[in-house]
């Protein structure tokens, strides 16, 4: 069964069509990359998958639930992380994670927080206020928040943006181990092509609100005759129409 099934999904803001009739499915246990330049429609698509945004047309099923009618049943089994959405800065790391332990009804939340603190290496920061953390520390804590309910679907919007290579590698390792151990599905929006090649088994390429190409990283490299996804990304971003024909 697919974890995500999106059909004819569109989002219009006045005259602007931010997402233009996209279709895709993400099978259970897959890690799928959602790539595209700024304004391609990635964040809008993720917001609709999370129920933050009501689609103008089309349908979304997540974990078997229709997001238009039954989004809360799905939301309890998924989670989300983005460096652009903050955690309350005046609360300590521990207090923040306790809040989300309650919101996601996590059993034995104290133990789960301890596990995450060890794996993401922030045990020494639990009593520090979130506002006093560095960018790397904040991102690790945000990922802990996203993993606190052991989600069956994890949506990540540029999870390693502005991180140093060491912290980025730590987070990618955590995500790989989490997926391998839990069989969770991950949808990842990223501008880091090396990250996408390492984590993703399948890639959706977006441009101007449409999915203009899709395939495994190897298939895309072969199709565009390139050695890395960065060049494929540039080919698609700079094309003026040929790629849009591929749906």
């Amino acid at each position: 069964m697919d974890t995500i099934r999106v059909s004819a999904l569109s989002k219009r803001y006045g005259e602007t069509l931010a997402v233009d009739g996209i279709d895709f499915a993400v099978p259970r246990g897959a890690t799928v990359g959602l790539l595209g330049g700024n304004g391609a429609g990635k964040t809008t698509t993720i917001a609709m998958l999370l129920g933050l945004l009501v689609p103008s047309a089309g349908s979304i099923r997540v974990l078997g639930h229709d997001m238009a009618r039954d989004r809360f049943a799905a939301l309890a089994r998924m989670n989300f992380s983005s460096p652009y959405v903050a955690l309350p800065q005046r609360l300590t790391v521990l207090e923040n994670l306790r809040v989300y332990g309650h919101l996601y009804d996590v059993r034995d939340a104290a133990r789960r927080i301890a596990e995450l603190a060890e794996e993401l290496e922030f045990g020494g920061l639990l009593h520090r206020k979130a506002g006093q953390l560095s960018a790397g520390q904040r991102t690790r804590v945000a990922l802990a928040k996203a993993l606190i309910n052991r989600p069956e679907l994890l949506l990540l919007d540029e999870p390693t943006a502005s991180l140093d290579p060491d912290t980025g590698d730590l987070l990618r390792g955590v995500l790989e181990r989490f997926r391998a151990a839990s069989g969770a599905t991950i949808l990842l929006a990223s501008h880091n092509m090396a990250e996408v090649e390492r984590l993703c088994s399948f890639v959706l390429m977006m441009k101007r609100g449409r999915i203009v190409d899709r395939g495994t990283p190897d298939e895309l490299l072969h199709r565009y005759g390139r050695d890395d996804l960065e060049d494929v990304f540039l080919d698609i971003a700079r094309s003026r129409g040929a790629a849009e024909a591929v749906r």
Binding site: L53, R90, E95, H102, D105, K145
Partner: protein
Amino acid sequence: MIRASLRRIWGLIYRHVALYRTSWPRVLELAYWPTLQLCIWGFTASFFGARIASTGAVAFGLLVGGVLLWEVALRSQMGMTLGFLEEIWSRNLGHVFVSPLRPWELVAALVASSIVKLLIGFVPAVLLAWLLYAFNIFSLGWPLALFGANLLVMGWWVSLGIIALILRHGSGAESLAWSLLFGLTPFSAVFYPVSVLPAAVRPIALALPSSHVFEGMRQVLLHGTVAWGHMAWAAGLNAAWLLAGILLFTWQFHRARVRGALIAIGE
């Protein structure tokens, strides 16, 4: 199901408890305005009370009672609205709304935390009224519970309206958190009866539960009787306004999801 729901509500209440536990300026701010208002009006009433021997004591009770009870509505509304604004200021709304927290659970958590904040602000003012002016608000007797409950609920529906406007207009509507209910003070007959108001304004006053509460308070203090008619009007109007507030909040929450405001609000 109910247990999970209660836990989510507690999660948001805990978020406010954690915030206030370590922020004495926030706690101080809760008690600051009720205490300041009480001091200003209490000393003013004492001054006139000493000069008008025949009606001074009654006027004193009406003024100080009005100040204390009106603070119930003001603190109830501000406690709830500021609880919502805290999520905007911390740019945390995105995380809250992608959790399984239902909108009604958010409202329930804001209501519960507003009651806690009200008690923190109200109790020192009540104690101060007793210590400085020997005015015991509990001398109103059990009708005090009816007055308090009605003003508490009025604070909630005004807050729901303000939150709906914030969802509609973004952080530009934040200032309403401090000004909207305060602006209803002249129509609420807090310190004078509705009959004092110009005839054209009286329908506005009578459409507010607060004016009926304060008419009721004056009847208890002046005549020692309960104005059941005013109490019934206050309860009925509160029910109607609360329903309107819930519908407005629900509608604007849905519209915010359509417009993408839940992502952009506070940015």
